[in-house]
């Protein structure tokens, strides 16, 4: 996964998008089919119904701040989101995204370089981000090897199974 080139449409989101809006507490223990319908509903009400498989998120500072709930990353993956690019990422969100097999990259200039709906290409392993609509090419921090290995396995649970610890 980390070696693939991802192509899709960019959803431009604001600063400080918290886990409370990515995975509202009221649906905390509901199955993912229910949870995913409420992603971002308090700030971008149309998101869950309009997002398409292959779409990516280009966010501002501190994306995924808040709680440890992995459902924040899992819900996005369940909606078909293939990558998160943000000016800065909450540590827990980044950890969880990698754990569920969703690449998450830090790129200081991405938020300003995209408008809603721009076509985007990302190479997570190299940290390369292209705004196809404007032609602008950006550099993100490349994902460390440890994270690439988890992504390549399809997430940390798949890796655990693969290691035969069980």
């Amino acid at each position: 996964m980390a070696d693939d080139i991802l192509k899709g449409r960019a959803w431009r989101l604001d600063h400080d998008i918290s886990t409370d809006v990515l995975s509202p507490g009221a649906y905390a223990v509901d199955p993912v089919e229910v949870r995913k319908l409420h992603v971002l509903e308090s700030v971008v009400p149309e998101f869950a119904s309009e997002v398409r498989p292959g779409d990516m998120i280009v966010a501002g500072r501190n994306f995924g701040c808040g709680s440890s709930r992995e459902t924040a990353a899992e819900n996005l993956r369940a909606l078909g989101v293939t990558c998160i690019v943000a000016e800065s990422l909450s540590r827990l969100f980044m950890r969880n995204a990698i754990a569920v097999g969703l690449p998450a990259l830090v790129c200081r200039d991405a938020h300003a370089a995209f408008t809603q709906g721009d076509e985007i290409q990302v190479h997570p392993g190299e940290g390369r981000i292209i705004n196809v609509s404007s032609g602008l090419e950006l550099e993100a921090d490349p994902l460390p090897e440890e994270m690439c290995r988890i992504l390549a396995a399809g997430g940390i649970l798949a890796m655990l199974k693969g290691q035969g610890v069980a």
Partner: protein
């Protein structure tokens, strides 16, 4: 090495580690609470593991949905109890015992220098005792329980040198709100915060727990205090054998060192809907409130209840205000009953909730309607956190919350005795 490096070097079985390195570390203690425990144990079974690597150092707490507000929550708790029995987990705190981040220090599970992971972001709280506490998600927890180990990036550390003395009416909650406002909600993103300097020696354990708890709201991986006499005394009082000092090396390096002078600090409040939108209370006095909340793992300890009771004693909350108090644990409630603190709160008009998370995360018990305002002692004021997305949450110290409950509007506790009656 600084504290974070010392903690991760020990856990990784290395003499030396430096910021930026990735290490595979042995986990000393794992915490799960009722929102995620059943899911983690189910997943563990799904990947084919029918044990946890160290049942005596796995702690399970039912604290969020307490008492069970729905049949679904009750079933969730039932499942957790079954898993706990099946896996032979040593430390299990059932519904009503209290909030995880209160119970672990209070019941003697936390030791300086150790690495603690929890399926909860505020696991940073244990940094108050010099432990490397940090939150992880459910998949990472499955990995940690199955193998006893987990990967970590050694974080850069920002050191905060605290000097001076807090004015009366000002608490360490005000200090950490001030830091959040000054450095931002990502001011310590993916970093460790180390709290040091002469003022820290004067901070009791309750205050340190508040500060380390909210280090997370600045993005921190750890919020660390060195272990000193205060730590030693706390551990002896809570079933432990005390501790040796656990300090950073004299030649430790830091990404940044900030000096924070406390003497002029005034009571602070975080405004909706960001923890780093912080203002001195005096600048927003007069905003009316519907609900006041004293509790949570940030400020639900006996010291917090006592600070509120001192403000409220012999008075009554304003008409139109609901005051909710959720003690952080059964032991806290017991002490509040014994010392008369609970009576002062109830006589002033407070409702006492069961020890637990209560309204803090908007799960149940004290939710807000559209247009309502709540001032609370908890740690987050995100949009929709306590019910309606059209409600507003303000965060402050126990004294400020109590003062505001008395007047019905946001109030600096130092102004209560003012001759104009404010």
């Amino acid at each position: 090495m600084n504290l974070a490096e010392r903690i991760l070097a020990r856990a990784a079985g290395r003499d030396q580690v430096a910021a930026g390195e990735f290490v595979m570390a042995e986990v000393d203690l794992a915490l799960l609470h009722d929102i995620f425990a059943a899911q983690v144990f189910d997943l563990l079974r799904e990947v084919g593991v029918d044990r946890v690597s160290d049942p005596d150092r796995t702690v399970v707490v039912i604290d969020h949905l307490v008492p069970a507000p729905s049949t679904a929550a009750a079933e969730l708790h039932q499942k957790i109890r079954e898993h706990v029995a099946r896996l032979g987990i040593g430390a299990f705190y059932d519904a009503g015992r209290g909030i995880c981040h209160q119970l672990l220090p209070e019941q003697g599970h936390i030791r300086p220098g150790e690495l603690v992971v929890g399926t909860d972001s505020h696991t940073t709280t244990y940094g108050a005792l010099g432990a490397g506490g940090t939150g992880i998600g459910t998949s990472d927890m499955v990995y940690a329980l199955a193998t006893g180990r987990l990967w970590f990036r050694v974080p850069e550390t920002i050191r905060f040198e605290m000097t001076g003395q807090l004015m009366s009416g000002v608490s360490w909650k005000d200090v950490i709100l001030h830091l959040a406002g000054r450095f931002g909600s990502d001011g310590a993103q993916y970093r460790a915060m180390e709290f040091a300097g002469p003022a820290v020696a004067g901070a009791d354990m309750s205050s340190r727990l508040t500060v380390s708890n909210m280090a997370l709201e600045m993005g921190a991986k750890f919020g660390l205090f060195a272990a000193d006499e205060v730590t030693d005394a706390y551990l002896r009082d809570h079933g432990g054998a005390g501790t040796e000092p656990f300090q950073p090396d004299p030649d430790a390096t830091y990404e940044a060192v900030h000096e924070i002078a406390l003497s002029d600090l005034e009571p602070q409040v975080a405004l909706p809907h960001e923890v780093d939108r912080v203002s001195p209370v005096v600048e927003v006095e007069g905003i009316t409130i519907n609900q006041a909340f004293i509790g949570s793992c940030t400020n639900g300890r006996i010291e917090d209840l006592r600070a509120a009771a001192e403000v409220l004693a012999g008075k009554h909350i304003a008409d139109g205000v609901r005051l909710l108090v959720a003690p952080a644990s059964q032991a806290v409630l017991g002490e509040a009953l014994e010392t008369g603190v609970a009576a002062s709160l109830v006589e002033a008009g407070a409702s006492i909730l069961a020890p637990g998370c209560g309204p803090c995360f908007g799960g149940h018990g004290g939710l807000l309607a559209p247009g309502e305002r709540c001032i609370g002692t908890h740690n987050r004021n995100f949009i929709g956190r306590m019910g309606s997305a059209q409600a507003e949450i303000y965060l402050a110290s126990p004294a400020t919350v109590a003062a505001s409950a008395l007047t019905g509007h946001i109030t600096d506790p130092r102004h209560l005795e003012a001759p104009d009656g404010r």
